[in-house]
């Protein structure tokens, strides 16, 4: 990151309004994303998805957000009007979600779905060019733009194909930042690497920024450049992906080493000390 980073966040706080007053869910998070692959990792409830949603301007209304700095390509997003967000979303920042079959419109064909994304940002584009762009983006994500694929509905696609279509919809307008929120956790293990490999190559080829949200550190090590570790709404560690095996924070170390494998046969896996959080809430 030599020039202005794509995304710059300083001291981001997201709070829920409750009867007892505001309760912070994300607290003082700061990070930058340039044309690189940054992974945001942590357990469920650590605030990583909320952070990503804030970047898309998609926080639920019940939550409030504050930040010292919250800018995309130098443009302040804090006071952005809904129209501003609409021109940004899809065009500049795109989001790939966990379950493609839920994210895709169930009654739209693949062709219509990609076409809709094009229309939103390029109204009045000639029909031939629209189909050319659709075909090209499908090839980019490894799908042959045959009639069978173009006319398929979401339920006729396998999980892997559906996620490729989702990615095509997201990339077709050439965004500069891609947010991928657990893009492979709804997929079979064997497909996960394929889909991430695809996301990773596309991001690199297009010189985009990637914010990859995941709870699988092994995956992140292979497909990320930098890693931000979140726990209970706070950033606890920031390190290079290649240094993950030597992380210093105990939370990161546990997340790294708790994956089962043939080597851990009949042994106990390291677990997190939960005495401070959820458990005490119940007891």
């Amino acid at each position: 990151m030599h020039e202005t980073p794509l995304l710059s966040v300083r001291d981001l706080t997201i709070a829920a309004r409750t009867m007892r007053g505001d309760e912070a869910i994300v607290r003082g998070v700061s990070f930058d994303v340039g044309a690189e692959r940054v992974a945001l990792v942590g357990e469920s409830g650590s605030g990583k998805s909320l952070t990503a949603r804030a970047v898309m301007g998609l926080l639920p209304r019940t939550l409030s957000m504050q930040a010292e700095r919250f800018a995309f390509d130098g443009r302040d997003l804090r006071a952005l009007a809904p129209e501003g967000w609409r021109s940004l979303r899809g065009r500049q920042i795109a989001l790939v979600m966990q379950d493609p079959r839920q994210a895709l419109n169930p009654v739209m064909t693949v062709e219509a779905q990609i076409g809709e994304a094009i229309d939103i940002h390029h109204r009045g584009l000639p029909r031939t060019e629209r189909s050319e762009r659709t075909a090209a983006i499908l090839r980019d994500v490894g799908l042959e733009p045959s009639a069978r694929v173009l006319r398929a509905l979401a339920h006729q696609l396998s999980g892997g194909m559906a996620q490729r279509v989702m990615l095509a919809v997201m990339l077709v307008n050439g965004p500069r930042l891609l947010i991928a929120d657990e893009p492979t956790s709804a997929l079979d293990h064997a497909l996960r690497d394929q889909v991430l490999e695809l996301i990773s190559t596309q991001v690199e080829r297009r010189r985009m920024g990637l914010l990859l949200i995941s709870h699988d550190l092994q995956q992140v090590q292979r497909f990320g450049d930098r890693v931000l570790v979140m726990r209970s709404g706070q950033l606890v560690e920031s390190l290079a992906a290649r240094d993950l095996a030597n992380a210093t924070h105990p939370y990161t170390r546990t997340l790294w080493s708790c994956r089962p494998s043939a080597q851990t046969y009949r042994t106990r896996l390291p677990v997190l000390d939960r005495s401070s959080d959820t458990w005490s809430e119940i007891a």
């Binding site: 409830g45 079979d188 390291p270 007891a283």
Partner: protein
């Protein structure tokens, strides 16, 4: 149907020969010509892609899927299609599902979910059994007064395991018990399953599409594809990384 000699523990927890399972209305059988034996106290993994029939196999064993033919014997007792398991065996076979939210009644407090199987089976000292099971899975007694939606995914899966454990099963069927969970919570549940093995030594039939989880937990495993067992794997095979050619 009670056959064989009651004396001594059965050598196998599950013995299946020539199993064919159908889905009414579907053109092809879900499972065809499947043979499988799981020893008493053995941890056996079933690995394969979505739709290969691994979850269906568990549903057949627990009596949730009646459309099958072939020979099945569970804990030494022969099973007949469309006939409930003999009460004793029924109690000895317990199942934990992938989605604990779907397997706990949303309007029942945890206490009721845990009490029901004990009462149905006429087990006395329900409170004692429930408290013991909660201790084993590391949950405080306060969860008894909670509803499923008030618990985290990992806590709900612990409740589901506590419910299965309270019956002291000799065969535990685990259908992707960790795939809806974070890796960190998965580690906790896998540790819990290991403790269950050490304490009660039930036979485990563990369905997963996570090769590493199977390699971590199982003594033997089978690769399933298209409703058949594609390859049987011994412990030594599980020590090897999954060959590309076998990946589902």
């Amino acid at each position: 149907m009670i056959t064989g000699t009651p004396a001594g523990p059965p050598a196998s927890a599950v013995a299946i020969t020539g199993l064919r399972v159908e889905q009414p209305g579907a053109p092809h059988p879900v499972i065809d010509r499947l043979d499988l034996t799981v020893g008493a106290g053995e941890a056996f993994g079933l690995f394969g892609p979505s739709g290969c029939g691994k979850s269906t196999l568990l549903r057949v064993l627990v009596g949730l899927h009646p459309y099958w033919r072939g020979g099945i014997s569970i804990l030494g007792e022969a099973v007949t299609p469309r006939t409930p398991l003999h009460a004793g065996v029924r109690r000895d076979v317990q199942m934990v599902f992938q989605d604990p939210y779907g397997s706990l009644h949303p309007l029942h407090r945890i206490r009721r979910s845990l009490q029901e199987p004990l009462q149905i089976n006429g087990i006395e000292d329900t409170d004692g059994r429930i408290h013991r099971a909660l201790e084993e899975v590391g949950l405080p007694r306060a969860v008894l007064e909670r509803y499923p939606h008030q618990l985290s995914g990992g806590q709900r899966q612990r409740v589901a395991i506590a419910r299965a454990l309270s019956m002291r099963p000799r065969l535990l069927l685990l259908d992707e018990p960790t795939s809806a969970l974070d890796v960190s919570v998965q580690a906790e549940i896998l540790n819990l399953i290991l403790s269950v093995r050490e304490t009660y030594a039930p036979a485990l039939l563990f369905v997963s599409h996570d090769w590493d989880a199977i390699a971590h937990l199982c003594d033997r495993a089978a690769l399933m594809a298209g409703g058949r067992i594609h390859r049987l794997l011994q412990r030594a095979d599980l020590e090897q990384p999954l060959p590309e050619t076998l990946a589902p």
